[in-house]
Amino acid sequence: MVVPLAAHHGTAAFDTKKSVKLTGTVTDFKFLNPHVLVVFECKNEKGETEEWQGELTAPNKLIRAGWDKHTLKPGDSITVTGFASASGAHLMWIRQLIGPSGEPLPLFEE
């Protein structure tokens, strides 16, 4: 797999040894530069609601992979896999995103 270069900041903020997989509901979708953000809620092991912010690549790169600003919307069910913030904040660098259709969405241009 070709690993895209980070556009604006590197991946130093993420713990690339710690992969997490979360299933939740989209609450906001920000299709903006330099990186697209997916905000979602999920329930932790105690049953409490947590808000997470998932980070994707640049919007132009996602457009070339078939996305637009309507690809995700509040209420969509998603399962995301990626690297969590090294600081412990609920922030992740998304490496796979299974969308409402149940299929993984393409995250990388060719």
């Binding site: 270069l5 556009a7 604006h8 900041h9 590197g10 530069n33 330099p34 953000l37 132009n60």
Partner: protein, 240 residues
Amino acid sequence: MACLRVSLGFCLFAAVTCAQTPAPAPAHDLTGVWMLRNPESMRAFAGATFTKAEPELTSWAQAKYKEAKASNNSTYTLATTNDPVLTKCDPPGVPRVYFHPYPFEFIHTPKYTLMLYEYDHTNRRIYTDGRAIPDDPDPTWMGFSVGHWEGDTTFVVETGGFNDKTWLDRLGHPHSTQLRVVERFRRVDRDHMQIDITITDPKALAKPWSTTFYAELRPKWELGEISCSGDYLDFSKIEK
């Protein structure tokens, strides 16, 4: 036995059809959208600098280089770098423009060739009407470029007239206003280009710094907009 002969014949046929000849490069034409795609062996450094080995810096440049806080691929955040492109949205300059992971486009006109970069509306105008780089050019971010063809498929571009505010790469190697960059865009076939880059600067580099980068044509791509402003600079506030 008949089955064996049939399958052998099939294999030979398959081998023949697999040996495709790349489509040839058109003459005097780089038109299209291109994306840097350096080979795997270069990936460890080519997102941030030109060569695995350090360039030979003058003592003037070494002192400046010590002040640079790199914006290397995976080892920085906005708080740890002083890259002027990322922290101030300064134009990247040439050759620092090679270190944005976005495509660029060539457009030929009768008197000049345009290079358009997706990153931050960056463009370069490369004069092909025979003029030379002025003797005492006004300093600019992207420089003053002239170009000519060598043979049918190599477009040679020389650029000077830079200010000294940009870095040469994402590691922060500095340059002076004496910077000159020669790029040889060699279209080896329709879909592939090799870019030989030679950087000279008597004030900053003890000897020329050279590399070869690789690009691929992306016929289905169009350049979009990536503006280094607004959301871009505010991103750390939007991001948790």
